[in-house]
């Protein structure tokens, strides 16, 4: 059986004038369905680029990327947008919630694209996702009325609303106090226990230690856990 995420000799090259920048070089990596993986590395090590490639935000310039057996490195921008919408949930360090917008509406956002759900159905799904992260009583609140931990939980609900196979979290606890950090990590464990693949990017070893598998990256190459 092939892995859910399968990278083969993937590289990324930027040409900046005379200089070539290679944030990723010859990365081969398999991640199976239901894994909990942490990608760790110092800043500038290429972990964010790797994350962007895995999340179909960025196309590799070399190598192949099979997502659930389908080659995605050659897809068009619109097709990649569809893959992101259907397969992935994104959680960011800075939450990226829309200001002056109720939590419920924030969570509904991914449902606006690539489907024709009626408004009532969108609302129902968003309510269910918020309930899953324990925020049923905060649905009408704006981000400014929520704590950092609550905001990140809204963001996780948004990542879950389309029932993705994979959740990608880029430093999800980077802006949070330690109590909220524990909450969020526990929530990610819960999701993983429910069968969702979790890929966590962090430079914090404590957070990395929660993962079942650790991948270390340095200077664009995987040095451990491939």
């Amino acid at each position: 059986m092939t892995a859910q995420i399968s990278l083969r000799n993937v590289g990324k090259i930027y040409h900046l004038g005379e200089v070539d920048i290679r944030p990723l070089q010859d990365v081969s990596l398999d991640i199976g369905a239901g894994e909990f993986v942490a990608i760790m590395g110092a800043s500038g090590s290429g972990k964010t680029t790797l994350m962007n490639v895995i999340g179909c935000m960025d196309r590799p310039t070399e190598g192949r990327y099979l997502l659930e057996g389908t080659e995605v490195s050659t897809l068009s921008g619109d097709e990649l947008a569809r893959v992101r919408n259907r397969k992935f949930g994104f959680v960011f360090q800075s939450f990226n919630l829309l200001a002056r917008t109720a939590a419920l509406e924030n969570v509904e956002l991914p449902l606006l694209y690539w489907n024709d759900l009626p408004g009532r159905e969108r609302r129902k799904r968003a309510e269910a996702a918020l309930a899953r992260v324990g925020l049923s009583d905060r649905m009408g609140h704006h981000p400014s009325q929520l704590s950092g931990g609550q905001q990140q939980r809204v963001a996780i609900a948004r990542a879950l609303v389309n029932e993705p196979a994979i959740v990608l979290a880029d430093e999800p606890t980077g802006n949070l106090d330690s109590a909220s950090e524990r909450e969020i990590v526990a929530l990610l464990h819960e999701l993983n226990a429910a069968g969702i693949t979790v890929v966590l990017v962090t430079h914090n070893p404590e957070i990395g230690a929660h993962a079942k598998r650790l991948i270390r990256i340095r200077d664009g190459r995987i040095v451990e856990g491939a």
């Binding site: 619109d78 947008a81 992101r84 919408n85 990226n96 917008t101 606006l112 694209y113």
Partner: protein
């Protein structure tokens, strides 16, 4: 994403920033409402002028005597005595002419019972006058050719004159005195209203032109002050035929100036309507400048908004929005602003036109065409000025956008 969902999304975004949205709309509101009000005023004015001109009668050609001069000394327009009622009779025989009425003008005081009055207009003419001026009788009848031939002391009154001289009773078969000559009133003309020059056309006394000339003016000549000609259909042809006929009758040599002037109603009407059309166009142009300024305001705010919402754009792309979805969202926001502003502008402009016609007594005409054009314009302004900011939004790189501080 379908249009309805995009519209809904756009409206949500706009309502998130009500003050800014309102201020952005202001430019278009002012632009559209001034276009609507200006065009309404211009069209109302030209409609009023045309209405008044049409009361003069259809296909009218007027012939005036030219200037007489003696020893290099001109007596001014109308002083020539060469235009006669015989000219009129000859003109009536032309193929392109329907009817001709000679006109002699005078001014005199009228006495009837205890009332006296100087009507604005006292004219001597022939029975063709009614036909030429397209005028109907209210009461009684008009004088006849026989009355003209015998210089009978009979007359017909306009509505205003009749009501002034005989308040509360009929004027028909009453006797009035003009310069102490008794005239029998044969009838009263139907109301015609104000002329294009602002004169009350119903303050008039008509009598046979021979009576006015001989009895009232005491003149031995048979020249007239004006020939009122009604052309069959082609006014140009009629005025050309009249010119050659009169030059021939007056023995004017090739190359010499005519001793008469010809003026057609169409010339007057087209001069007046041309003027008001240019005015309307000018007003609309000035107003559309404010529309363009409003459009630039929209573009400005949309550009700011796109930069401000960089992370939102990145996020939307991350969760699956295509570039087209982003483009449509921002384009829809700009269009929604300008269309909403356009609708408000139409309402305000119509209200302004209504107030203007109420307080200044200036007629206004709000045509469906001007409403339609204003609406189309506000859509176009939104799409045109919203496109560039929307394009900038849709061209963003999602990774960069998400990291934007």
């Amino acid at each position: 994403m379908n249009l309805l969902k995009t519209l809904h999304l756009a409206l949500r975004s706009l309502l998130r920033n009500k003050v800014r949205t309102g201020l952005t709309m202001l430019g278009i509101v002012i632009g559209i409402s001034s276009v609507i009000a200006m065009v309404a005023m211009g069209q109302g004015a030209s409609m009023m002028i045309q209405d008044q001109l049409s009361t003069m009668g259809r296909n009218i050609v007027m012939v005036f005597p030219g200037a007489a001069s003696s020893g290099g000394f001109s007596f001014g327009g109308g002083s020539s005595t060469t235009l006669t009622s015989e000219d009129g009779a000859a003109a009536a025989g032309l193929g392109s002419v329907r009817a001709v009425a000679p006109v002699v003008r005078t001014r005199a005081q009228i006495i009837a019972g205890g009332q006296n009055w100087v009507p604005q207009s006292m004219m001597g003419t022939s029975p063709e006058f009614l036909d030429v001026r397209d005028w109907a009788m209210d009461e009684g009848g008009f004088f006849t050719e026989t009355d003209v031939a015998s210089s009978a002391k009979v007359c017909v009154l306009g509505r205003t004159t009749a009501d002034t001289l005989f308040p509360g009773e009929t004027a028909v078969q009453q006797t009035i005195r003009i310069k102490n000559f008794p005239f029998r009133v044969l009838g009263v003309l139907a109301r015609k209203g104000t002329s294009a020059m602002g004169q009350d056309q119903d303050d008039v006394v008509l009598a046979p032109w021979t009576t006015v000339k001989k009895t009232l003016q005491g003149s031995a000549f048979s020249n007239v002050d004006q020939l009122l000609v009604s052309a069959k259909s082609d006014v140009e042809a009629a005025s050309a035929e009249l010119t050659s006929l009169l030059r021939q009758r007056h023995r004017i040599r090739e190359g010499d100036d005519s001793d008469f002037r010809i003026l057609t109603m169409d010339e007057m009407a087209s001069t007046v309507t041309q003027t008001s059309r240019v005015m309307t166009l000018l007003l609309a142009m000035i107003a559309s400048i404010s529309l363009v300024v409003g459009g630039i305001g929209i573009m400005n705010i949309m550009l700011v908004s796109v930069v401000e919402r960089t992370r939102e754009i990145g996020l939307r792309m991350a969760v699956g929005a295509r570039r087209r979805d982003i483009l449509m969202q921002f384009l829809m926001e700009a269009t929604a602003i300008s269309v909403a502003a356009g609708v408000i502008g139409m309402v305000l402009g119509s209200a302004a036109a209504w107030v203007i016609s109420g307080t200044l007594k200036w007629p206004t005409l709000i045509s469906p065409a001007s409403i339609g054009i204003a609406f189309a314009f506000s859509c176009a302004v939104g799409i045109f000025f919203g496109f560039y900011p929307a394009l900038r939004a849709s061209r963003m790189d999602p990774i960069e956008a998400l990291r934007y501080e």
